[in-house]
């Protein structure tokens, strides 16, 4: 019998502890010296690869913006390496952590600046298409929900083993769409928590 500690909601007031320097306006006075541990800009001087901007809205079952959500992302670097394993030989881009956090603003908008991830190892010895793991927390969510972000301009999506498990008519909810004419390259990824066009979330 497992004895794990149950999850509880992040609630509406997390920002000053978890995302103090984010886009979410929580501080009436504007002075707060808490240095953020994790922010929404993952780009480090030592990280090679394509700089990208990811932006989207988080919407509830009525299509209304969720203005108190926290989005966390976890990704590989441009060469498809995760920065997790302690004791592995150091990567040349040791400062790139692959982890980011963004709190939504009054319009439910979150955003990240990062490096486009490379393909990473997947089941059966095959590569997975480049993707980012996304975790959503919010008031009204008693536990986090997980999804994935794939890129609209990746041919490798067609052969991705995880995407293949998603019903074809819902697969599009996991695709971030490349926006025309932006520098840096910008992808749009809205997260619909509930409803007809609900984003696919994972039972993992």
């Amino acid at each position: 019998m497992s004895e794990i500690t149950p999850s509880q909601t992040v609630g509406p007031f997390f920002a000053y502890g978890l995302a103090p320097k984010g886009r979410c306006q929580w501080d009436p006075n504007g002075h707060y010296s808490w240095k953020e541990t994790v922010g929404d800009n993952l780009i480090t001087p030592d990280a090679a690869g394509t700089k990208i901007h990811i932006e989207g809205r988080v919407l509830d079952g009525d299509g209304k913006p969720i203005n108190d959500a926290m989005i966390e992302i976890w990704q590989a670097d441009a060469q498809g390496r995760y920065a997790h394993a302690r004791g592995e030989k150091p990567r040349p881009n040791a400062k790139f952590t692959g982890f980011g956090r963004s709190a939504t603003d009054k319009d439910g908008v979150y955003s990240f600046d990062t490096i486009k991830p490379g393909a990473v190892p997947g089941p059966n010895g095959k590569q997975q298409a480049p993707h980012i793991v996304v975790c959503i927390f919010s008031r009204g969510m008693l536990r986090q929900i997980y999804t994935r972000l794939y890129f609209s301009d990746e041919k490798a999506n067609d052969a991705d083993q995880i995407l293949a498990l998603i019903p074809a008519d819902r697969r599009g909810t996991l695709i971030a769409h490349k926006q025309p004419g932006n520098s840096p390259v910008t992808y749009r990824f809205d997260i619909r928590v509930q409803g007809g066009d609900e984003t696919v979330f994972f039972d993992i």
């Binding site: 999850s7 509880q8 978890l18 009525d62 394993a85 793991v133 009204g140 609900e198 994972f202």
Partner: protein, 235 residues
Amino acid sequence: MSLIYPKESLEAFPKHLSPEYRSTVKRSPSKPLVIVPHTLSELSGPAFGHDAIQDTDNDLTKQHKGEPLGERIIVHGQVLDEDKRPVPETLVEIWQANACGRYVHIVDQHPAPLDPNFTGAGRTITDKNGYYKFITVKPGAYPWGNHHNAWRPNHIHFSVFGQSFLTRLVTQMYFPGDYLFPFDPIFNSVTDEKARVRMISSFDLENTIPDWALCFRWNIVLRGREATPLDTDKD
């Protein structure tokens, strides 16, 4: 060390939709979650070095010119996996209301005073035994709009990482003997009583410091247990 993450363990978690907590009604997925295998993307997770924090970040009573009002307390314990092995060097973040039950956040309009000497955020990294410790003040109860005369039991919000992106946990630590437990839909969203009790800290007299601060102990158990080798001797 390789860990597996049995999904049955998550039975202790609240359901996404828990209508007594009204905000879940429009913020819970309505379609079945899609089962996918755990790949390297899920089995890896962020690591934090000690440069992520400052030494004093775990003492919430020393972040301003003076000391905050309220009962000074020590909250400590271990972060463990399902096999009760310590989870070392993992980031633990907390945030909480002040002793009057008021958060610094602009959205909190509860007419209780803010304390100029208390913000209410802290963080630390567990040591090699998975041990963490905070010094703070006991948070007050506060009203919220979920239903008529709704009050949250005293609690401290916790955010913990663990060894992979699947062990990520955001939860709340409660205090023993709270009279608001029976009325709180967030606490009671955990329907199994044994699981609910695991969110309640214990009063720790042994580590209470005479003439200075009460102590509460709370262990946090994350997903993950050691992979059991397949039994191949049967035939």
